[in-house]
């Protein structure tokens, strides 16, 4: 098991390295010159050269990449002299825009995106699994068909459409909810929930629809397996069969998808955050992109990849615990 864990961790590091390298190269190809952007509209060539040196852009790309990688662990300095900045592990560099350490920016925005993702996840799990399992148990009935038609239709609505409709109905016309902003959970739990309710709903509707479809089919498949049929034949009450055996084996594939979805969302739901104006990681990414703030873009990409990879590992570990054969 330990060897397995070590192997997986090495794999994670390898994947993150590859993603980092690819992102770095992509931005190296960008025509934008961050030094010129920082320097302002009437920058003389000499001053531009100084700025470029200060930002480390006068180095060849491989050197910058090496510095970046080493800097993550060893820390980095920005500038020289009495007011030079230093950031320690894990140091992802500094934003070109405001000279804040990228790590601090990410950690500042992460609670926002995490609130959004986790709240929405709770909603969609309840809605999606509820609908899916109900439909599976009533397979072929009117309820099943209604739920599934609803799910297919909802899954076909883009989140930016749902968002607009929700805002119009509940905020503009209904006046029931405030315009979404972000209030920290610690400052005002009620305000936190009230402000996030709309984005949660918009996001959750989309995923709930997908989960309803997924959980219905895996539930049907599970209920059709020999051991369930055996349990039934042995006279086990239907509810117990469903709860003890059916659900458990049906939930494994759902869990897999859930891990991946949550991993991807934790590092920011770009569209949802941008439609609702929520200051999360996704919004940070989008704004940074507009300003060619390469260190921030790189940081968000790595964070997102990290969550996805970790989610994968966690799922695999869960499988491995359940089924030792999976450790191969």
């Amino acid at each position: 098991m330990i060897a397995y864990l070590v192997r997986r961790c090495l794999g994670v590091a390898g994947v993150l390295f590859a993603i980092c390298a690819v992102t770095f190269v992509i931005f190296y190809l960008l025509p934008a010159d961050p030094a010129a952007a920082a320097c302002g509209k009437t920058c003389s060539p000499e001053r531009l050269a100084e700025v470029r040196h200060y930002m480390g852009l006068d180095q060849p790309v491989w050197r910058r990449f090496a510095d970046y990688l080493v800097g993550i662990f060893a820390g980095r300095d920005l500038g020289t002299g009495p007011h030079a900045l230093h950031c320690g592990f894990p140091c992802l560099g500094y934003s070109y825009e405001n000279a804040l350490p990228v790590w601090d920016l990410l950690m500042d925005r992460l609670p926002v995106s995490a609130s959004l993702a986790l709240g929405a996840a709770c909603m969609w799990l309840v809605l999606g699994l509820g609908a899916g399992v109900t439909a599976a148990l009533k397979k072929g009935g009117l309820l099943d068909r209604t739920l599934m038609v609803g799910a297919v239709a909802t899954a076909s609505l883009p989140v930016y459409f749902t968002a607009v409709v929700l805002i119009y109905a509940l905020v503009r016309v209904g006046g029931l909810l405030p315009y979404p902003t972000y209030t920290p959970l610690t400052a005002d739990p009620m305000g936190w929930a009230a402000n996030l309710l709309l984005p949660w709903t918009a996001l959750a509707l989309l995923y709930a629809a997908m989960y309803a479809r997924q959980s219905r089919s895996s539930m049907i498949e599970a209920m059709d397996q020999p051991f369930i049929r055996t349990a039934r034949a042995k006279g086990m009450p239907g509810r117990v069969v469903v709860a003890k055996h059916g659900l458990r084996s049906a939930m494994m594939p759902v869990l897999t998808i859930f891990g991946m979805d949550l991993g991807a969302l934790l590092a920011g739901a770009v569209i949802t955050e941008s439609v609702f104006g929520i200051p999360g990681v996704g919004r940070l990414f989008y704004d940074a992109l507009q300003r060619s703030d390469q260190p921030v873009v790189l940081g968000v990409t790595l964070l997102a990849a990290f969550f996805i990879v970790v989610a994968n590992v966690v799922i695999d570990l869960l499988y491995a615990v359940v089924d030792p054969r999976a450790r191969s």
């Binding site: 934008a32 509209k41 704004d287």
Partner: protein, 581 residues
């Protein structure tokens, strides 16, 4: 700042308030189109009357400030915000709407500065009793220190007038390593003397820029000073979460007796950032709860015009001051086809400027530009164009010039615009097709727009570019836009047309050397029409800045010096007790 953000260039609306307020109190229906075209409240109207002291003013924004560090702050609305609330400068603009707003008042200094040596040396004396937010005195050497900071390669982005004007500034890289400028002397704590490399008649205006505000050396934090500038103004920073929220509270050591400009009505100012543009409009229009005490930071969206103009009670809360910037279609004069004068002149007639107006939000928020210098620099009225007055252009004359230029059947050409200007580029495409000019549009992200058009070797034939004067003087306009010596091979900005003309450059130097500001102003206007005849660019629009306020806001007007952003020196609330909502 010269570079305006073009993302929402289309926005608009505005000024309608004026029309409404003044013209039509009683009539419901809009009159003829003449009447409707009148931009409303443009100039001279203060929304909401005189404010009362106290309460919380909320500012709703879709973005973060670029830089609040006074050495780096060169974005017009942010300069307004910084210099009106957080740091004082040697002189500043009067807190008044319309033309009076372009007049100067002493701020930290006792007067507008005393020139000597033919305008090469300028001396300022500080008022007595000036204090920072911690009660320590403001000293002349702190102003010198901030000017020096603006030379540091890590504190870039700010106005570069100090670099341009100060004597012996070449190669200086800031005070962080302990070196200092000899051309700024501070013989005592209240006197500061600037030695310039050439006479500068309008130096009193130059020192309105945030570069000329005090930063004590003991508070230096390098690039992170941006997060918490040390206050010499009426407010200090209580908290600042970048991109999310900035909270200002009163600076108890600011003494109103030393300040003739700022009124500082609200007790607190809260800036909420990163909101969604359309939602900001809806909130301010609805004016519910705390939103009644809110003002917009970013331009109202074009889509909201239809929610505002037809409703008189909302319309009167819309400010739409002229930005004072000119939007131009720059023609690349460095190579065919626009190295040909006739073809350039043909463009002056071929462009349908009224289509530009519509694409940018309509006549309520835009005026057709007739020259390069905005009206603020030409005595308040539009100059007469040598190309006539038809806003839709003149296809016949354009055709004739094309024939004279050897292209009677038109030609193919390219334009690069930032994605926010796409509709305007499409409108250009349409209007040029009337004379057989086929325009290929390349649109790029705003983040790389200036880099793309600033790469002179690969620059497009045309580009939409704007320029805003830093203060009301032609010296902050024409030399930046049409001086061939400022062209850089990469990162070229300002002179996007790559216009090189010996006679024009010579004349610019002559005007810059004039010691009398008034005759210099006249000379710039004359030079404007000289350049216009050579046609390196087609003037397109003079835009207005549409901003809404909540119905509890008072004392709001767009200030002409800062592209029509609200003057934060005197804005406040009608009923401070309502702002707690």
């Amino acid at each position: 700042m010269a570079r305006q953000s073009r993302a929402l260039s289309a926005s608009l609306s505005a000024s309608l308030a004026l029309a409404l307020l003044s013209a039509c109190a009683g009539q419901a229906a809009e009159g003829g189109s003449e009447e409707r075209a009148r931009p409303g409240v443009a100039t001279g109207t203060i929304i909401g009357g005189t404010p009362k002291k106290g309460g919380t003013l909320t500012v709703l924004s879709n973005q973060d400030f670029g830089h609040l560090d006074p050495a780096r702050n060169w974005v017009m609305p942010t300069m307004d915000f910084g210099t009106r609330l957080l740091y004082r400068t040697l002189t500043t603009f009067k807190a008044a709407p319309g033309k009076r707003g372009s007049e100067l008042a002493p701020d930290l200094a006792t007067d507008l500065g005393r020139p000597s040596d033919g305008g090469r040396t300028w001396t300022f004396t500080l008022k007595p009793g000036l204090k920072y937010e911690d009660g320590t005195p403001i000293r002349a050497r702190d102003i010198k220190y901030n000017v020096e900071r603006s030379f540091a390669p890590d504190l870039v982005g700010g106005p570069d007038y100090a670099q341009r004007y100060l004597d012996g500034a070449e190669g200086y890289t800031g005070p962080l390593e302990g070196e200092h400028l000899k051309s700024i002397r501070t013989p005592d704590d209240r006197t500061i003397v600037f030695s310039l490399r050439r006479p500068v008649a309008e130096f009193s205006y130059t020192v309105t820029l945030p570069t000329f505000s005090p930063v004590p050396k003991s508070r230096e934090k390098g690039v992170q000073y941006d997060l918490r500038p040390f206050s010499s103004g009426p407010y200090r920073i209580e908290s600042y979460a970048r991109g999310k929220k900035l909270v200002l509270v009163r600076n108890p050591h600011w003494d109103p007796a030393t300040d003739t400009v700022r009124k500082a009505y609200p007790d607190r100012i809260v800036v909420q950032q990163g909101l969604k543009g359309g939602q900001i409009d809806d909130r301010v229009i609805a004016s519910a709860g705390a939103d009644a005490s809110a003002v917009e930071w970013s331009d109202m969206q074009p889509a909201s015009i239809a929610k505002v103009l037809p409703r008189p009670e909302v319309r009167k809360r819309l400010s739409a001051e002229q930005t004072g910037c000119t939007d131009m279609l720059a023609l690349n004069t460095s190579r065919p086809p626009f190295d040909n004068l006739k073809l350039r002149q043909a463009m002056q007639y071929a462009v349908d400027k009224s289509a530009q107006v519509t694409a940018a939000g309509g006549p309520a928020l835009n005026d057709v530009a007739t020259g390069y210098l905005p009206p603020a620099l030409t005595g308040g009225r539009a100059v007469d164009s040598p190309y006539g007055t038809s806003p839709t252009g003149d296809v016949k004359k354009a055709g004739k010039l094309l024939a004279e230029g050897g292209k009677p059947d038109g030609f193919s050409t390219t334009i690069t615009v930032s994605t926010g200007d796409k509709t305007r580029a499409e409108a250009l495409q349409q209007s040029l097709s009337r004379v057989g000019v086929r325009l290929r549009i390349q649109s790029v992200d705003p983040s790389v727009y200036y880099d793309t058009i600033g790469d002179t070797k690969n620059a497009p034939d045309m580009a939409i570019s704007g320029w805003c004067p830093d203060y009301p003087s032609g010296s902050t306009f024409l030399p930046f836009v049409f001086d061939g010596r400022t062209i850089k091979e990469k990162g070229n900005q300002g002179n996007v047309s790559q216009f090189r003309d010996e006679a024009v450059q010579k004349r610019m130097d002559e005007i810059a050397a004039m010691s009398d500001a008034e005759s210099a102003d006249k000379a710039w206007i004359d030079l404007d029409s000289v350049v216009l005849r050579k046609s390196p660019a087609v003037p397109l629009l003079w835009k207005r800045k549409p901003l809404l306020v909540g119905d509890n806001v008072a004392g709001a007007f767009g200030h002409p010096a800062w592209t029509g952003q609200f003057d934060f020196a005197v804005i406040g609330l009608k009923d401070p007790s309502r702002s707690k909502g």
